[in-house]
Subunit: 427 residues, 2 copies
Amino acid sequence: MTKLREMRPDQLDGLEQATQSTLDSLCAEKLSLDLSRGKPGPEQLDLSAAMDAPLDSYLAADGTDTRNYGALRGIPEARALGGELLGVAAQQVFAFGASSLFLMHLVAATALRRGLWGDGRRWRNAERVRLLTPVPGYDRHFTICESLGLDMVNIAMLDSGPDMAQATALAAEDSTVKGIWCVPKYANPSGCIYTDETVAAMAKLPQQAAADDFVVFWDNAYAAHDFEFPRAPLANLYELALAAGSEEHLAMFASTSKMTYASAGLGFCAGSDTLLTALEQSLSVMCIGPDKVSQLRHARFLSGRIEVHMAQHAALLRPKFALVENVLQEELGALGIASWTQPKGGYFVSLTTPPGTARHIVQLAADAGLILTPAGAAFPYGKDPNDDHIRIAPSFAPLPELEAAMQVLAQCVKLAAIKQLRAIDEP
Amino acid sequence: MTKLREMRPDQLDGLEQATQSTLDSLCAEKLSLDLSRGKPGPEQLDLSAAMDAPLDSYLAADGTDTRNYGALRGIPEARALGGELLGVAAQQVFAFGASSLFLMHLVAATALRRGLWGDGRRWRNAERVRLLTPVPGYDRHFTICESLGLDMVNIAMLDSGPDMAQATALAAEDSTVKGIWCVPKYANPSGCIYTDETVAAMAKLPQQAAADDFVVFWDNAYAAHDFEFPRAPLANLYELALAAGSEEHLAMFASTSKMTYASAGLGFCAGSDTLLTALEQSLSVMCIGPDKVSQLRHARFLSGRIEVHMAQHAALLRPKFALVENVLQEELGALGIASWTQPKGGYFVSLTTPPGTARHIVQLAADAGLILTPAGAAFPYGKDPNDDHIRIAPSFAPLPELEAAMQVLAQCVKLAAIKQLRAIDEP
C-alpha cells in the first residue's frame, strides 16, 4: 500500500470507497462496542474467585479481629502487600478502602487544607497552586485537581517518562508549582515505564523545587501489571528519595483493583511517617477503620503469589493487545497517518492520528456504534492541543467484539485522514 | 440503705471503707477492662458468618457485575436494603462504602464547599456556620464539625428527643444556624426514641429556619437495633418532610456496621434526588464506585430477614444491658447520687453522676484498670458543662468482665460522691 499523502486522486477515491464500504458493513451489525474505560474483563475477575472461599479465621497476624472497628492504617499483612507492590516496608504503607483514587484525593485535599507535614505548610496559604501534569495522562488525576481548584501545567511525556528537564525548570523557578502527577509503570495512557534516570530525577525534584511543600504523586497503578515475566523493573523511588532527603514529599499509590476486583480491591498509600500521620488525622474524622475482612482475604490470596496471579491476567490480556496491534498494523501501518504505542503491560494503547482529527474520529466511531474515551480526555480540561490523541482500552471487550471495534476505529481513522487531506488539497 | 447525703458521719466512713475495700480487691485482679466504645462483641460478629458463604453469582438484580467498576449509587438490592432501614424507596438511597460516618462527612463537606442544591447556596458563603448539637450526643458528629470549621450550639436532649422549641427558636432567629445533628432512635448516648411530635417538628424545622440552606442530619444508626420485638416505631421523617416541602433539606443515614461487621458493613445516605445528585458529583471526583460485592453479600444475607437477624443480636445484648442495670441499681440505687437510662435498644447507657464528679470518676476507674469513654466526650469540644455525664458501652465485654467493670465503676461513683460530699461539708 502507498502512503496516504502520496496517493493519486483515484487511489484515494478507491480507498475511501473501500473504507466506507467496510464501515457500512460493520455498522449493519448494529454494533454496541465500548473501548472507553480500562475495565478488567469478566474472565479476569473470575481469576480471583478463590479469594472468596470461606475464611478459617478472621484474625489478622497481630490478633486483630478484622470484623470489628479500628486499625485505621490497615492490618499488617495488607500493609505488607502494599509494601510489596510499592517497594517499601509494611510500616510505610496505609492500606485503606478499595480505591487508590480516594487516597490520592485525600493526599491532595490534606496538602491543601491541613498540611502534610505537621507544621504550618498548607497549599491554601498560597494564592495559587499548580501541579505538573505530564500529558497525555490520566483524566481522573486532572479531575481531582479541578475539583480542588488546583491549576495544571502540562509537561511533555517522553518514552522515558515525563520530561524531567522541563519539570525541574518549572518547579525550580516558581513556588506556585507544588507537585507532579506520575504513573511510573505502564503509564496511562502511553504505556511507557519511567527510566532509572527519570526516577532518580523525580527523587531529587522536591529538593530542587522553589516550593517547600512540593508533592510527587506516584500513582503506581500498574506496578504488577506486566504482560511478560519476570516483571519489568522500576527504580525504587522511595530509596532514592531517602538518599536525596526528599522522602517526606512523596505519596506513592497502588491498588489491587486490576488484580482482584475492580470494585472491591484494596487501595494503598505509602510514604514517610509524617505523611502517614497526616493522612491518619484526616481520615479519622470521617472513618473508624477500613474493611479489614477484605484486607485479610486479599492478603491470604495474593501474598507470595502476586506474580503467579498476574501472569494469569497477562495470559488473558496479551491476545487483546496483540489484536489491537495487528489491526492497527494491517489497516494503518502502510498509510503513514497514525502511530501507536506497543505497551508491555498496563491497560492502554495510545493512538496518535493526524493533527486535528481525533475529535472527528471519536465522533465517526460513535456514529458507528463504538464508544471511545472522549478525545482530549488524556489532557487537563479535556483540551488536546493537537487534537491527535486517542486512548484505546482493549481489556474489557471479548476478542470478537474487540476485533470489530478495532476495525471500526481503523476505518474511522482512514476516513478522517482522507477528509482532512482533501480539505488541505482542495481549499 | 440510706441516701448518701442523709448518712451520719460514721455511716459515710463505713461506706467509704467498704467501697474502697471492694475496689481494692477488684484491682488486685489486675483488670484490663474497657467500656469506652460501642463495639459489637465477637459473638455478635459470628451471627453474620453465613454472609461470607460463596456467592453463586456476582450479578446484581439489574445485571451489574458487582466485581467491576461503576454504579456509584450502589446496586438496586443494596439501595433497597438501605431504604428498608430508613423508610424510603430504594431510588432515594445512596449505598456507598462501609461507613455512614464517611457519608455524613461528605454531606457536610459538600454543603460547605459545593452546595447540596445544584445552585449557588454554599455554607462557605456565610461568615459563620453553626449546627445545633443536642447534648449529650455522639462525639464523632462533633469531630466532623470541628474538622470542617463548623461551630456548634448545644441544645437540650429531652426524653422525647431534642428540645424542638429551643431548636426552632434558635434556627428561626439566626441564619448562621444551618443544621442539626440527630440520632433519632436509641439516641447515642441517651437511648431515647424521638417521639412523633419531635419528628413532626423536625420535618418542619428547615422551613422555619432563617437559613435557606438548613440541613437535618438524621443519623439513624440504630434503626433496627431494638432489644424487643416487634421493633419500636419511629415516625417517617421523609414522608413528613415531603408533606412539609422540606425534603431537600434532609440527609438520612443508616449503616449495617452493627448488624453485620463493624469494619465491613454498608453505609447508606438517603434523601431527595437533588441531594443524591450533589453527593454523586462530590463522590465521583474521588471514587469510581462502591464495593458492590459486599453490597450483594449484604442484600442476600439481610433482605427480608432484618428483624430475625437483629433478634439474634438482641438476645446477646439484652443480658449485658440487664447486668448494667442490676449493678447500678444494687450498688447505687438507694444512695440518691446517680441516675441512668434504661434503653430498649442501641448501644449505650447514660449515667448521670453528682455534678462535678464525672471527670474524677473516669480517672478513678482508669486507675483501677477500667477504660471509660472520656468524661465530656458526649459534648462538643469535650466540655460537659455539669461534668456529670458518663457514657457506658456494654456491648463488647463478655459478661464476667462486664460485671467486674460495672462493679469498678459503681465503686468509683460512690467514692467520688463521698469525697465531694465531704468537700462540701468540711470546707
